[in-house]
């Protein structure tokens, strides 16, 4: 059986490396059939997940691995961002979305990373097992 079309990239946990993942994501998606207008948004969602791993899981500590797995299977794009740092204490079961109104008081200053992932991707899941934390996002592609 042939497995899904997939690749893994690993970066050192420095915020200056996040653009490497973003640029690679864009390059991959530009060469796979799919909704081209959504490429900048998927690039953004993946960068947000990598930023979270570096800032929250590793507390901005450098020299630690962040793995990004990308695969295409059955018309879907799957991206997993994994770290070995501190896990989310409680990952929200239902992710927050951007507020519907233009009411300023409802525009929060923080938490936009998860909101962006929820707006861009169809499914966002998180699991932590054996010291490895995985945030998996997927959406139709193709």
């Amino acid at each position: 059986m042939i497995g899904p079309k997939s690749m893994r990239m690993t970066i050192d946990s420095s915020l200056t490396n996040v653009s490497l993942v973003g640029n690679a994501m864009r390059g991959i998606l530009e060469n796979e059939p799919g909704p081209r207008q959504d490429i900048p948004l998927v690039e953004l969602a993946v960068c947000e997940a990598v930023n979270n791993a570096i800032i929250h899981a590793y507390g901005r500590g450098e020299g630690l691995p962040v793995e990004v797995d990308v695969s295409f299977a059955e018309g879907r794009l799957n991206v997993t961002v994994a770290d070995r740092g501190r896990a989310f204490e409680k990952f929200p079961e239902i992710l927050p979305r951007a507020p519907e109104s233009d009411d300023l008081s409802r525009m929060p200053l923080g938490g936009w990373g998860l909101r962006i992932m929820a707006e861009v991707m169809e499914k966002v899941e998180y699991r932590s097992e054996g010291g490895r934390n995985e945030l998996t996002m997927s959406r139709p592609w193709g």
Binding site: L41, N51, S101, M107, L109, W112, V120
Partner: protein, 117 residues
């Protein structure tokens, strides 16, 4: 990242000159924004012409400004790239909170002239 500040008819125009306004490089832009808000500046234009990519860290700087300006001040953006435009769209920042203009002149006219953008 260099951030250029220009005053035009009482409007502070902030232009971050890096291509990425993200967690890695947003610090100088945030600090400059905080400085101009602290000194009581109420009309602010962000010239994003050089910016091709913005993440939630860059977005947070704009939201911080919108909050600080409240009902007495106004924030507008210029040179919004396709990626930044999509970020504004999914976070609904484009629905009235921030004026979006094609040129700095237009944005300054909208703010200094007291017009609604």
């Amino acid at each position: 990242m260099t951030v250029v500040e220009t005053m035009i008819r009482g409007v502070a125009v902030l232009a971050p000159l890096g291509a990425r306004l993200d967690a890695a490089g947003c610090g100088p832009f945030r600090r400059r924004m905080e400085q101009i808000l602290l000194r009581g500046q109420t009309l602010v234009v962000c010239d994003l012409t050089a910016v091709t990519f913005m993440d939630s860290t860059g977005l947070a700087v704009l939201l911080l400004a919108v909050r600080a300006l409240g009902t007495t001040g106004r924030l507008a953006c210029v040179g919004v790239s396709p990626q930044v435009g999509k970020l504004f769209e999914i976070t609904r920042l484009d629905q009235g909170l921030v004026g979006i203009h094609a040129t700095v002149e237009e944005a300054v006219d909208a703010l200094a002239g007291g017009g609604q953008s």
